[in-house]
């Protein structure tokens, strides 16, 4: 057995779609991130035992929940997995307390009451114990669904878009609460989202899914700043992807040609001279020099501003260079202090360490 508490690798075939995810989780907050239609909800349902994979294995704490070779397929009732679907699916005809007690039917009455009351306290739901779900706010509904799922002390908790039903200004607070609860219960929590900001805000581990396949798994900063493929790079908002040729390939500072320009790349690896690399640069990592004196030792590129798309707090700028567009993001105050205007030529600087070599150009 590996150290991972949870391992899944299975495939499930549909007429128009193949789901074949593969990943491991420890007792951490993990986020399954992907575009809509990538297979996120379906993956959760398969893990919970609500959809049956065609083949593969799902292991939790060393026990097989599903194993097509061994013909093991535990029903959802026996998987010790908590599941919170997208709109919480609270039982509308039962009070908050009854909802929470629903999974505790096999406990004696006294311990059941004790567990429910403990969870009501921990989730700050006591004042609402006798209310029906329809009388609760989005956040209270979410806490009730969580309490109900956690009541049975599951070994893994699955949550499908848990913030979709909550007003935007409450989300930050609920995210923190969820992170605290995960630490308290110390079990793996796998949360589904299609929002990059939410994935980043929540994930200790990020599992990126695309067209039914897990394309990258890692710590959130690993995936965010060191995507393995151009597809993941784009999903993560690394919008500048350049094709360069290695001129001097010895680490830690690889010299490359980008068209007629030179780019220095910071990397722990060495590359063969003449080989072609795909590199990615996040738009916020490109800085616009205010004055010649401020230019730091870094890659310097002279580019023409062709488009300014103000986004309120930020500006999304397009610079033309090398017959290609570079996207640059600056904050509004910085934009103002730079006195930028369309058509201007400016010097852009990029730290070698901010240029990421994409290992698997596809």
């Amino acid at each position: 057995m590996t150290a991972a508490e949870f391992r899944a690798s299975f495939s499930l075939h549909f007429p128009d779609f193949d789901l074949a995810p593969k990943f491991e989780l420890g007792p951490e907050m993990a986020v399954l991130f992907g575009a809509s239609g990538a297979g996120k909800s379906l993956t959760l349902r398969a893990l919970a035992g609500l959809e049956k994979p065609d083949r593969g294995t799902i292991h939790l704490n060393g026990h097989a929940l599903f194993d097509s070779e061994e013909e093991i397929d535990l029903p959802p009732q026996d998987r010790r997995i908590g599941y919170v679907p997208q709109h919480y699916a609270l039982f509308p005809h039962q009070s908050v307390a009854k909802n929470i007690a629903f999974g505790l039917h096999d406990l004696p009455r006294a311990s059941r009451a004790a567990r429910v009351s403990e969870l009501l306290t921990r989730m700050r739901l006591e004042p609402f114990a006798d209310r029906r779900p329809g009388e609760l706010s989005g956040g209270q509904q979410q806490r009730t669904a969580l309490a109900r799922a956690l009541a049975r002390r599951p070994d893994l908790l699955l949550m499908d878009e848990p913030f979709a039903a909550v007003e935007e200004d409450l989300r930050a607070h609920l995210r923190e609460e969820l992170l605290r609860i995960q630490k308290e219960f110390a079990i793996p929590v796998l949360l589904v989202t299609h929002s990059r900001a939410e994935a980043y805000a929540m994930a200790e581990r990020l599992v990126v899914i695309r067209e039914g396949q897990v394309v990258q798994t890692g710590s959130r900063d690993d995936v965010f700043r060191r995507p393995r493929t151009p597809g993941v790079a784009r999903l993560m908002g690394m919008t500048n992807i350049l094709q360069v040729t290695v001129a001097d390939g010895s680490a830690p500072e690889v010299l490359t040609d980008w068209g007629n320009l030179k780019l220095t790349i910071g990397t722990p690896d060495s590359y063969a001279t003449g080989s072609s690399l795909a590199v990615g640069i996040r738009p916020e990592e490109i800085r616009i020099a205010a004055a010649e004196s401020q230019i730091q030792p870094a890659n310097q590129l002279t580019a023409r501003l062709v488009k300014d798309e103000p986004q309120g707090a930020d500006h999304r700028l397009q610079f033309e260079i090398n017959n290609q567009l570079l996207e640059v993001r600056v904050s509004h105050p910085e934009f103002m202090s730079l006195n930028l205007a369309g058509g201007q030529e400016r010097t852009l600087t990029v730290q070698p360490s901010a240029i990421h070599v994409i290992p698997d150009p596809d």
């Binding site: 035992g49 699916a89 999974g103 096999d106």
Partner: protein
């Protein structure tokens, strides 16, 4: 020796009871199933909706008559269905069954499937889930189906006439008694009997509409 009213109530009451017991079970089994056997079962249950009552009554007569193996066996264990009020119960149950199945099934299928899924991950058996989640959320549909079934059973005429006949005091239900009164030119009786059945029908209709509009729970448009 029973009056047509009491006989009708007994027949329709028992038929509704049978229709609900079997109908809810069948609805539970057919809900969200689309296999070939489920489709065939569904078609068979719904056949009485499109089959003329006299045809149904004729088949029952053939199937349950003393000349058929089933009829002979029933007779041997002391159950007589031809030209008895029990036969009327059988006929009324069969015509009422698809109404209960249809209404209950629609109500069960209207329950958010996530509720059932979550309940399964919470360790409850499918039977417990049906009893504690599905039925409580679908009871209005079941009740509406039961009322429709009672109305249909109470008004049953063609199939009942075929299988149970028209024996005053034994198998003459109210709808048959009206026919008899008109044939005999006893319009006073016919009037009284028709009024009685109309009142029951209107009461059922009003109750069902009340159930239905509470069910729909008219919602305001999303403000956006």
């Amino acid at each position: 020796m029973l009056t047509p009213l009491l006989l009708s109530l007994r027949v329709a009451g028992l038929a509704t009871l049978f229709a609900i017991v079997f109908g809810v079970a069948i609805a539970a089994l057919l809900t969200r199933r689309h296999s070939a056997p489920a489709n065939v079962a569904d078609a068979v249950v719904n056949l009485p909706l499109v089959l003329p009552p006299t045809v149904l009554g004729y088949y029952l007569l053939v199937l349950l008559g003393a000349r058929s193996p089933l009829g002979a066996w029933l007779e041997s264990v002391g159950i007589e269905l031809v030209f008895t009020w029990q036969g009327a119960v059988v006929a009324a149950s069969i015509v009422a069954l698809p109404l209960v199945v249809g209404s209950t099934r629609a109500a069960l299928e209207a329950v958010d499937p996530d509720l059932r899924d979550v309940a399964r991950t919470l360790g409850q058996s499918n039977t417990a889930i049906f009893l504690t989640i599905m039925l409580p959320l679908a009871w209005r549909g079941l009740l509406a189906g039961g009322m429709l079934a009672f109305a249909r059973a109470l008004g049953e005429f063609g199939a009942t006439l075929m299988i149970a006949g028209n024996i005053p005091g034994r198998t003459q239900t109210l709808p048959i008694a009206i026919y008899d009164s008109v044939q005999a030119g006893d319009l006073a009786s016919a009037n009284r009997q028709a009024l009685l059945l109309t009142l029951v029908a209107v009461a059922l209709l009003v109750s069902m509409r009340y159930l239905g509009s509470a069910l729909a729970g008219r919602k305001m448009r999303d403000r956006g």
